[in-house]
């Protein structure tokens, strides 16, 4: 079937989109999976909130993330590709399990650290990079969602900073424990090559080697994500020399 290109872009951009549609399809699939996972995480979070306002807040976030997933699916339709998702794909499943462990412990703060500090750093940084190079409405959608995710992080930051002020050492130990769990998985996802087999989200072979064709690279997405993560930890007040050591100890 001839792909239907409906994006608001120039003729040259449309031609480029035609040839690169399979790459955008995988990028959108990863993003959509991440958004659906975030929606599930916020829905789970709502179940452990005591304060009705917090419940409403978590459900609102869940709805927002579902909206983002829908927006990515719509972008796929515009360029004539079917954007699938797989929250049970191996890396995403491990991230979900890590979050559910925090839920099982009814640890609201740990949930915020995983979702807002770790997963959202990854989302904000990678969507921003994609937003800069993707043509037309595709780029605009990624940039808009990156900005919205950044707002989430700012909101959580004030809660987390207050929590850290109570006992910095205990808080930092908690972040480190979660870092070992979640960031190790994210680092494996962000590795330049998927060394341990197919990620179960890309529709065919791994998209990473093809990213150069759309002016992206796996190394750039990883670098930007890790930078965003470090900057977010800086904003929390965790000493830079500590987080630098954490970063260097991640798998590559």
């Amino acid at each position: 079937m001839e792909p239907l290109i409906e994006v608001n872009c120039s003729a040259m951009e449309c031609t480029s989109l035609l040839s690169s549609a399979p790459i955008w399809q995988d990028i959108l699939a990863q993003a959509m999976t991440g958004e659906l996972l975030a929606a599930m995480n916020y829905a789970s979070l709502s179940e452990i909130c005591d304060d009705p306002a917090e419940v409403a807040d978590a459900l609102e976030h869940a709805e927002g993330e579902r909206g983002h997933a829908a927006a990515f699916a719509a972008e796929g339709r515009r360029i004539g590709v079917d954007v699938t998702n797989n929250v049970d794909a191996k890396h995403w499943k491990r991230l979900r399990k890590a979050f559910l462990r925090c839920i099982a412990e009814r640890d609201f703060i740990a949930c915020l650290i995983v979702q807002e500090i770790m997963l959202e750093s990854f989302a904000v940084a990678s969507y921003s990079r994609v937003g800069k190079v993707a043509p037309g409405s595709l780029g605009k959608t990624f940039a808009r969602i990156a900005a919205e995710e950044e707002d989430h992080v700012d909101h959580a930051m004030s809660i987390l900073r207050s929590e850290r002020a109570l006992d910095p050492q205990r808080f930092d130990d908690k972040v480190y424990r979660l870092h070992l769990d979640v960031m190790t998985t994210l680092a494996q996802m962000l590795a330049k090559e998927c060394k341990d087999g197919h990620c179960e989200v890309c529709h065919a072979s791994c998209v990473k080697p093809a990213l150069f064709d759309v002016s992206l690279s796996a190394a750039e997405l990883r670098g930007a994500s890790l930078q965003q993560y470090l900057k977010t930890l800086d904003k929390l007040g965790i000493p830079g020399e500590v987080t630098l050591a954490w970063l260097t100890q991640l798998p590559v």
Binding site: Q169, D173, Y176
Partner: protein, 381 residues
Amino acid sequence: MVDSAAGVTRRGPAIEVDFALIGHQESWRAAADVLAVLRGPERTPLPDGEIKDILPWIPPRAVCQVDVGSIIGAKAHGMYIDSFIPPDRLEAAYVHENIARVRSAAAYAIKAGAKIVSLGGFSSILIEGNFDQLPERHHTVFTTGNTLTVAFIVQGIKKMCALEGRNLQRSTLLIVGATGDVGSGCARCLGPIVNRVLLSARSVERLRRLAAGLQAEGVQVEIATDLQRFSAEADVVICAASLASPSLELGRIAPHALVCDAGYPKNLSPRAEMLGAKVFFGGLGQITGGLRFAPDFHGILNRHPFPDVVHGCLLEGMALALEGRFEPFSQGRGSITSERVEEMEAIAVRHGIYLAPLYNADGPVEDELHLSDGMVERMSA
């Protein structure tokens, strides 16, 4: 339970930060070694390709705590902040990116409450004429550290002349990178001592201004923007150019010339052919009152064949902290005078910070035993 010591140094009560040292690694090997220490011996070192991919994304931040002691009992606590300028991005093409990195490192030092900040390597070159570009400073002062660098270069030249039995007063001194803060400081200190000075730099206007100042002091000066134009008369050479990599080839110089490479990164190309020349690295000092890094970066952050050797620019901040003089001792470009150098030398010596033993890429260039007491006294004088 996760042992917090595995990833987090358990912190005691907040310790005042007397000084911060801002630097960057001059080679990918050095950068790899820094990351390897942070990664820990139990993990396999990061492959070189991964380091080149990851390092440019690391925001400037502290790498380790530094404690320095003085021979008169003073102590100062500080931190080393790496700006993570990639070693292959020191060229002019990256100047804006690199200034932003140094600014960010400066902001980190300010936030940490450092009382004085020394700017190492390209950090000072990027900022020396643009101190207004630093973030709002509150109680933090900045020094380029160039005065102590000049002091150690001058001391090194004098020591090398003594070792080689040369008469500095009869020498023709060539300074490459002469209009920079370090180069011009060396010209002012050594110009009145030597027979003749040859100044080389890129800007003819700056060369003219520097030469005019020296000539007014009775110094015999020649200038050239083209290094190759100089005669082969230079028998003492100081290389103090801001080069992104060791790429300088001096061309014609006198046989058996003494060449001080004071660059960071080094100036001289490894391919440079200088028949019979005695090359040594300049601008380095040695702390004798104790130097401790936490985590232990000995031999990693200070990659020298002798213990506790540090570049003069970083030592200046430590010396001033030990002295309790939290002031912007070296700022701007072209204000280093022999009087200021002597003042800084006196501060350093008081705390047991001396010229480091001389060495080059092949190892030590001197055998301390060859120096007679009389020679040492003359050099000190």
